[in-house]
Amino acid sequence: MEVKAQDTKTTKTGVLKRIAGPVVTAVGIEAHMYDVVKVGKEELMGEVIKIQGENIIIQVYEDTSGIRPGEPVINTGLSLAVELGPGLLTSIYDGIQRPLSVLVDKMGDFIQRGVSAPGLDHSKKWEFRPLVKEGQEVGPGTVIGEVQETNIVHRILVPPNVKGGTVKSIRSGSFTVDEVICTLDDGTSLTMMQKWPVRVPRPVLEKMNPTVPLITGQRILDGLFPIAKGGTAAIPGPFGSGKTVTQQQLAKWSDAEIVVYIGCGERGNEMTEVLTEFPELEDPKTGKPLMERTVLIANTSNMPVAAREASVYTGITIAEYFRDMGYDVSLMADSTSRWAEAMREISSRLEEMPGEEGYPAYLAARLSEFYERAGRVRTLGGKMGSVSVIGAVSPPGGDFSEPVTQNTLRIVKVFWALDAKLSQRRHFPAINWLNSYSLYLDSLQEWYDREVSPEWNSLRSWAMEILQKEAELQEIVQLVGSDALPEAEQITIEVARMIREIFLQQNAYDAVDTFCDMKKQYDMMKAIRQYSDLAYAAQNAGVTPQQILSVRSKNELPQIKFIKDYVPALAKIQADMESEFNALRSAA
């Protein structure tokens, strides 16, 4: 299947006229916007990004050092596309879907240029099981068969741009992604692979409202600021505040079926960490290695900047493809700021009129087009699937008023505001509970009622109120000291501290606390609430705050985080709290 009909008139060879870094100019070539071209004698891959009279301006995905004016340029007439089919899972790609493992084989430990490598392994055979019969009607998005790719079943779909018809023949057995497995009566032949241009969203039947949370096992996220399956979230923060760790936690523990993780212009060692850790970690739901449901895109900060620009599109297209199989996919992009900077860098080389802080005027449009590709959908084949998108934002100087953060916040529904003050005191996740929000709370309420407890929503509101109250009280404390607070408010301060230190703080590196399911989240919050209720009741009965604050059993509560089978221990703490308070009340 061809992405765009190969028009022989536009497939032409021209010559390079100017080279200035990743942007080059060619003449004597006919081209359309976003055509993929081969640049120079080494045939470096590039893409047409501007047409100006007879000058064709190209961004090149590889280093252009040593390339000279006069070298040839060939237009392939195709758009930048990814290969979609069995073999995607467990792969690690650069921004233009070249498998990094293949690049190591072809060019060694360092990234050289001029090497092409297809996204899928074209020699590997996959066991294909047909799910439709000859004579059956199929259309775009119909599942015609499946392949057991890892522990995940890879469904083979009729591509969205194939009209469909009656199945004339279909085979079962072991095939490569290039072999025809199915033919239709109109002569179309289908393989297990499809190509899709990355800059075009894959079509769906309809977009639905998200009503189910993406459970992440992170208390502050699931508990206070949940993201829905098919939703969008941004996580802005200065360096070292926890963007990457939070995203990696989501990639590890969220209950998505497929994870696409894009390292966009960030550190090499962070990708190595994912590569070494994920095969060892188990999916808490399936018990299978996490790597088996994961696709990684790594275009690190020192890899070509044009490929960094493309990496985000490569990732989201792969995510949409798995969504079309009916899966819940979550996609993390770390960091969208580096993507925006790649746009800025290319744009400034094009001498475009800069917008705010040098970013191109189309920054906002690109960001919203990207996040619009998230969603919970009914696929062309009638299945339910979703793509949730979580984007890290790296604001210069940690200042959220800059264009990337601001334009992102206008689009996304969940805002997890990282706070350097919290990370500096090693309160992790350093998500500020006063500034963050989730606009999905209302639509998810029913789910929490049903799946967690009818009490959950009010427990959540209660915790938020206490935290809000604490912030107000802290202002007074800053003026008069904590001892001068009225008794009831001293209790509030203590309860707020418990919510922060016990519930909100969660160490990603603790073997047990790294993941906390909804039941445990509920039990923990409930125990804090119990202390709070007992404390206020005791205070009304005349017990002094000193006595209330020094109830010993509550000091055991933080330990619950580190205990896997916490139920007996928690029950004991709760019983002890009751009896300690009983004793206090009867003594008062």
Binding site: K17, G268, M271, R344, P396, G397, N507
Partner: protein
């Protein structure tokens, strides 16, 4: 080689040349002056009509009569094992009176990105003997960990103490130091050189010196030459290389100068929009390659203009490096050496190099608890200034005292004091034991029972 005399314009470090042969982007250019001397530059922009060359030295003496020779290749650097013990200029020429380097290889100075798939996991703990680093911001082999400092603060002492004391406990593998100075004063350079000579480190070092009075644009290539050398030593010769780059602020100023000369649209505070990518091209040249013996650990030093950590230079650096060690003027004023403020400091690779099998099982939790307690005590200082100590609760007073203890016992140490990791962690426990046990909420009970001095002593007494 053809020589052109078609210079049309010279602006700052840029030379514009017309009507040339087709010239490659990034190609090395020799500019021949009237007296026969040669200056070097690099092609920044090339087209049929015009070639823009960035000169790496001062443009003094370059005129329309100067000759331009295109070398047909990108900038390469001769490297060889006899570089160890040598002192080179910021442009890579020997300045110690010794012979030219005998090249075993000529390497492209921009270097290629390590394929993330080929990277090895950095997890060998490096003991620096400094508690605020080993205990709370642990360094591992293959990490890039900058020192964020300010003018007049003792970052050079700290860097030297690290260079002197750094070791992987139990390992006897070959190591080397590559030192690149960019725009520092002669006096600062001497300070480093004398220490290298005194301790014998010079034999295992390659030194690149671009001093304050050397051309600013040369600073653009100095770190690249240093890292090319480091890659050769690490990945060809299998050495563990520690690279010290100082001062990255001067490097960034040179970058800004070139951007301005090219009349580029400037980014934040006048620095080029591509500074992140440019710096990444330097800092990412640290790490470990699977299946290769050596490693590159980077210690860039930068002075934060106005002590402002949100300034683009520290900001973009922090976004690329694997943490930062922040030197504090306030601690320095209190007379504490090393004046490292742990709160904004961070080592992102710490978790890979600590714990059971690396340092000690309690390391992570002790570190977290020290941070939390110090942060809390430190916050209270502001409050005390307003309401006085008496308005504090019992609990608050304990944390306030903890903060002082932490600075005076944990942070403060001698310039030659080399603490083992056990000493550092035990010191941490001693300080934590001044707080009530139930306040140690970051540590699990098992570890408290095993390491807390109170329980350790009872355990010892019983045993």
């Amino acid at each position: 080689m053809k020589e052109y005399r078609t210079i049309t314009q010279i602006a700052g470090p840029l030379v514009f040349v017309e009507k040339t042969e087709p010239v490659g982007y990034g190609e090395l250019v020799n500019i021949v002056l009237y007296d026969g001397s040669i200056k070097r530059g690099q092609v920044l922009d090339t087209s049929d009509e015009l070639v823009v060359v960035q000169v790496f030295e001062t443009t003094a003496g370059i005129g329309r009569d100067s000759g331009i020779r295109f070398t047909g290749e990108t900038i390469k650097m001769p490297v060889g094992r006899d570089m160890l013990g040598r002192i080179l200029s910021g442009g890579g020429k020997p300045i110690d009176g010794g012979p030219e380097i005998v090249p075993e290889k000529r390497l492209d100075i921009t270097g290629a990105a390590i394929n993330p798939y080929a990277r090895g996991s950095p997890n060998d703990f490096i003991q620096t003997g400094i508690s605020t680093i080993d205990g709370t911001n642990t360094l591992v082999r293959g990490q890039k960990l900058p020192i964020f400092s300010g003018a007049g603060l003792p970052h050079n002492q700290i860097a030297l103490q690290i260079a002197r004391q750094a070791k992987v406990p139990g390992s006897k593998e070959a190591f080397a130091v590559v030192f690149a100075a960019m725009g520092i004063t002669k006096e600062e350079a001497n300070y480093f050189m004398q220490d290298f000579e005194r301790t014998g480190a010079l034999e295992r070092a390659v030194v690149f010196l671009n001093l304050a009075d050397d051309p600013a644009v040369e600073r653009i290539i100095t770190p690249r030459l240093a890292l090319t050398t480091a890659e050769y030593l690490a990945f060809d010769l299998g050495m563990h290389v520690l690279v010290i780059l100082t001062d990255m602020t001067n490097y960034c100023e040179a970058l800004r100068q070139i951007g301005a000369a090219r009349e580029e649209v400037p980014g934040r505070r006048g620095y080029p929009g591509y500074m992140y990518t440019d710096l990444a091209g330097i800092y990412e040249r640290a790490g470990i390659v699977k299946g290769k013996k050596g490693s590159i650990t980077q210690f860039p030093i930068l002075t934060m203009p106005g002590d402002d950590i949100t300034h683009p230079i520290p900001d973009l650096t922090g976004y690329i490096t694997e943490g930062q060690i922040v030197v504090s003027r306030e601690l320095h004023r209190k007379g504490i050496y090393p004046p490292i403020n742990v709160l904004p400091s961070l080592s992102r690779l710490m978790n890979l190099g600590i714990g059971k099998g690396h340092t000690r099982e309690d390391h992570k939790k002790v570190s977290d608890q020290l941070y939390a307690a110090y942060a809390e005590g430190n916050d209270l200082r502001g409050l005390v200034a307003i309401v006085g100590k008496d308005a504090l609760s019992e609990r608050d007073r304990m944390f306030l005292e903890f903060a002082d203890l932490f600075e005076n016992r944990f942070v403060r140490q001698g310039y030659t004091e080399d603490r083992t990791i056990e000493e550092t962690l035990d010191l941490g426990w001693n300080l934590l034991s001044t707080l009530p046990v139930e306040q140690l909420v970051r540590i699990d009970r098992d570890l408290i029972n095993k390491y807390h001095p109170k329980f350790r002593q009872t355990a010892k007494a019983e045993g």
